[in-house]
């Protein structure tokens, strides 16, 4: 794994760690605050990510490729987009959780335009988040946001997805990453 990260990234990560540790030792306030930010967001993600990846693993093992192809694949039509939005509505976290999920869906035969719909919708249509939003911003605000962004999202995903399918684009073109995704399934 270390080879894959690359020397520059390792250097960057190590100097970051050194900078933060030093800041705490000598009491350099900005460094301490950056360190605390890091801690705060790491904890928020550690609460979420293990569950997300366990569910991804279960999905990879149990859900048949044919099922995903049928409902989210090339022949799925409007149903595919509907599934994309519904799945996104229940996604927790944000885009950073949606990317690995999208990749699993793609591996199981979902088409690109549905993948992009899913990604965008997991940013804008998460149900728990929207409930929270209405309590602060009012329901009119959320209704406008949904009714403008969702059609635009589906339209743009349709165009982008079809364009990329024509170009024979593949998600995760890098050989190392492709291997990690296949898992002799």
């Amino acid at each position: 794994m270390i080879k894959k990260i690359g020397a520059i990234k390792i250097t960057a990560i190590l100097s970051y760690i050194a900078f933060i540790s030093l800041s705490f030792i000598v009491g350099f306030a900005p460094g301490e605050q950056i360190g605390n930010n890091f801690k705060y967001f790491s904890i928020a993600m550690i609460k979420m990510l293990p569950c997300a990846f366990i569910l991804i693993g279960l999905f990879e093992v149990w859900v048949k490729k044919e099922t995903v192809e049928k409902h989210l694949g090339k022949e799925s039509g409007i149903r595919g987009y509907t599934w994309g939005v519904l799945l996104a509505g229940t996604t927790v976290g944000g885009l950073y959780v949606a990317f690995p999920v999208a990749y699993s869906l793609y591996n199981k035969g979902a088409k690109l335009s549905v993948i992009f719909t899913y990604l965008g919708a997991s940013a804008i249509c998460r149900v728990p988040m929207t409930i929270f939003e209405t309590s602060f911003m009012g329901i009119k605000f959320s209704i406008i946001r949904w009714s403008v962004s969702l059609p635009l999202l589906i339209l743009s995903s349709f165009l982008l997805g079809n364009y990329l399918e024509k170009k024979k684009y593949k998600i995760m073109g890098r050989p190392s990453t492709q291997m990690a995704g296949k898992h002799e399934l």
Binding site: M1, K9, A12, I13, Y16, Q33, G35, N37, F38, F41, S42, M45, K47, M48, L49, P50, C51, F53, I54, I56, G57, L58, E60, V61, W62, V92, G94, L95, Y96, F99, P100, A102, F116, L119, G120, A123, I124, R126, M129, F132, S135, F136, M137, K140, F141, I144, R145, V148, S149, L152, L153, S156, L160, Y169, I171, M172, T177, A180, G181, H183
Partner: protein
């Protein structure tokens, strides 16, 4: 948040009862995918921690209150694009800004870009989708956010 743990635990339990071997395989797959993307996550967290030091809640409030609405919308989209904030932080902040008479359209530009445009999630997105598609998706998202802001402005009578 708790329902996520509950759902995951329940799913693992059902899976384990149904097929022990498959369940271990699933956990293995999940773990190796997690390990694979972990460096990108680390780099994102480092970016987030540094960016949020320079762009504080106070800085955002100061700038979004700008008298020129159009400029405020652009600044809001900029902040929304370069920062990453969970909803439970962002919406209370917006609620406060609303009380300070920041227009709805500015806040919708901010929250929509915050959710859809991810400059900080770029290390992760690039890992899966590659550079070009990442840029394309984010530009489209920015456009959608501006469209949402525009319609919000019209609906709340802030534009005309």
């Amino acid at each position: 948040m708790h329902y996520l743990y509950f759902a995951t635990g329940f799913a693992v339990l059902i899976s384990f009862i149904a097929n022990r071997k498959k369940t271990f395989k699933a956990l293995k797959i999940g773990f190796s995918q997690f390990l694979h993307i972990l460096p990108a996550f680390l780099i994102m967290l480092i970016f987030v921690s540094i960016i949020l030091f320079f762009i504080s809640d106070k800085l955002i409030s100061d700038y979004l209150g700008n008298n020129n609405k159009y400029l405020a919308v652009l600044i809001a989209s900029f902040f929304g694009s370069i920062t990453l904030m969970p909803g439970f932080v962002a919406y209370p902040l917006c609620g406060i800004l609303l009380m300070k008479n920041v227009p709805y359209m500015v806040l919708s530009a901010f929250t929509t870009t915050l959710m859809m445009v991810g400059i900080l999630t770029y290390p992760i997105e690039k890992e899966y989708f590659g550079l070009k598609v990442t840029i394309a998706r984010n530009l489209i998202s920015l456009f959608i956010a501006l469209a949402v802001a525009l319609v919000t402005g019209i609906s709340f009578g802030e534009l005309f």
